[in-house]
Symmetry: C2
Subunit: 339 residues, 2 copies
């Protein structure tokens, strides 16, 4: 047990996601086999033990933590939290709060994960509600874009907070020393755009970040900057449009290649293509931003491999101390702007 | 000359665009060969006559109208209009105003075309500045999206005007009887989105249009609605992101196919793919919306075929009477909302 005591402890919501619990348990156990994290599977005890029976987990750092109920995609998060206080997402998030785990990971409802994180872990000072983001474009796998979530009406100060969070993300996850931070806008000239962009530009110029001005969407797709900041309305449209174009292209590509290549070659080409518009599947998931703890949220359709990867993201987040760094940087930047 | 008097008369800005005047003249002359429009090439007289010399234009309904100077992409439009009052875009737009032409077509600076149209033709009542739009997604070639231009901060009333314009566009260009009109937003539920969407939803529900609520970006990419309304900030990002993803995918596809298919087959597949993200090249161009006359603006990189198609768009716009229809519908809808 000595070794385990130094392992990063990950609470995995084993009930969340389209393929729960089977694929969640499978991916988590695979991660445990690396010996680099202690896995705590949170969910219905009988169901989880039954899944584990089929896998060889002898001696692995895997434990089961009981919970009651699941919050499904589409349930109103705030109401669901009150109705199901022992749901798997609540219990796994609470383990982080109580320092029984270093991070939590879920493939379940993003809304529920955000609500649980906001209520249980609390918000980082300077952030009004949890933000979502990450490298959402496969054509720009080293560009973090945020917010892509629920912050649809943003004041300039919020966008500055997103810039700070993205800056820390790029430094901690990708070791970029001075990430180029830009505002997603409709013209390349600094300050060109809507009122929100113009007002945020003034603040970012004083922020001390490596603010490089605006990035236009076609340059964004090429990975021209390290951090692209936008409100959640624009960011969510960017994310979903990319998925939609990718799906349509996938279908068209199969049509065009049909008969011209053997089926296995068609699969190779379309798979290489698919990742360009479905980067979340490649990374497994991304951390919620702006909450006082590490919660990684993946895609509802995740299978074992994506779960494995999401746990890896959580581990890096813990090991690099990115949450305390965000807190320090947010405080410093907002103090500078208020001065 | 009797036949010509009944032909639609198109003033073509022969100096605008990266490939002017050669490709513009070539495309316009090709259109004249159909015998379905009278073409007036506006530009430097010597240059145009020299281009025409190389083409067999005997007996074709093609004339040259002299102008002085060109407004280039990137010049501040308002200033350029004052400095170059006889520039080709000004002269061709003025011909529409003076009823010497039924429509104008340009591959030059979009900003200059918009400024010339606003100043020379004047704005439609209920529209503050010219809007841009059209079927900008190749994966949704029968969905008109607007604004994708310079209306970056919009009041709800402006978005209603865009909805009316898009509705007329879908009826006149595509013969869709009751176009499904939607707001581009971040959730499928009616009214879900930012403040702008919520406020505009209230108005559209009373507008008498076939308002179907929100469309999310992945559904937009599949052509789920006929008209998608957004402000120019969001629309411009949608348009440029699509181009950027397309370019990146094009490059990736060539890599994936290299060696697996003969070069001519690679070209066939990538060409079939390219049009999914570059629909403007396929349509040639789209009309400026909200001005009192028909001006079709194409891509600066247009070659003869795209010019030919843009002239075709202008011809349909004239023949279907879409500008007077927009004026009537805008008046009716805003009267209904004010009541």
């Amino acid at each position: 047990m000595t070794a385990e005591q130094n392992l990063v402890r990950i609470a995995v919501d084993a009930m969340g996601g389209d393929n729960a619990p089977a694929e969640i348990v499978k991916g988590a156990v695979e991660f445990a086999r690396t010996g680099s994290a202690q896995i705590m599977l949170v969910g219905d005890e009988d169901a989880l033990n039954s899944e584990l029976t089929g896998l060889d987990t002898d001696g692995l750092p895997v434990a089961v933590v009981p919970s009651e109920g699941v919050i499904r995609e589409g349930e109103p998060p705030a109401l669901a939290l009150r109705q199901k206080p022992k749901a798997s997402i609540v219990v796994s998030t609470a383990m982080v709060k109580r320092e029984q785990a270093d991070a939590s990971v879920t493939m379940g409802s993003t809304g529920a994960a955000m609500a649980a994180a906001a209520v249980v872990l609390g918000m980082t000072k300077g952030v009004e509600r949890p933000a979502l983001g990450g490298p959402i474009l496969g054509t720009a796998p080293r560009t973090v874009i945020l917010d892509v979530g629920t912050n649809v009406d943003c004041r300039p100060q919020q966008l500055v907070s997103f810039a700070v969070i993205g800056d820390v993300f790029a430094r901690h996850f990708w070791n970029i020393e001075k990430p180029r931070v830009a505002l997603l806008s409709v013209g390349a000239e600094v300050g060109k755009g809507n009122r929100q962009v113009r007002e945020t530009t003034e603040l970012l110029e004083k922020s001390g970040l490596n603010f490089v001005g605006n990035v236009e969407a076609h340059e964004l797709a090429k990975g021209a900057v390290d951090v692209a900041v936008c409100d959640g309305f624009v960011g969510n449209i960017v994310m979903k449009l990319t998925e939609g174009i990718g799906d349509a292209m996938d279908a068209r590509l199969r049509d065009l290649l049909d008969g011209a290549l053997p089926p296995e070659e068609v699969n190779r080409v379309t798979a290489g293509f698919h990742e360009l518009t479905n980067v979340v599947e490649m990374t497994g998931g991304g951390p919620l931003f702006g909450v006082n703890g590490v919660t990684v949220v993946g895609h509802g359709s995740a299978k074992a491999t994506a779960v494995y990867r999401a746990i890896g993201v959580a581990k890096i987040a813990v090991e690099t101390g990115y949450v305390p760094q965000i807190n320090r940087d947010l405080e410093a930047v907002h103090a500078k702007l208020d001065a």
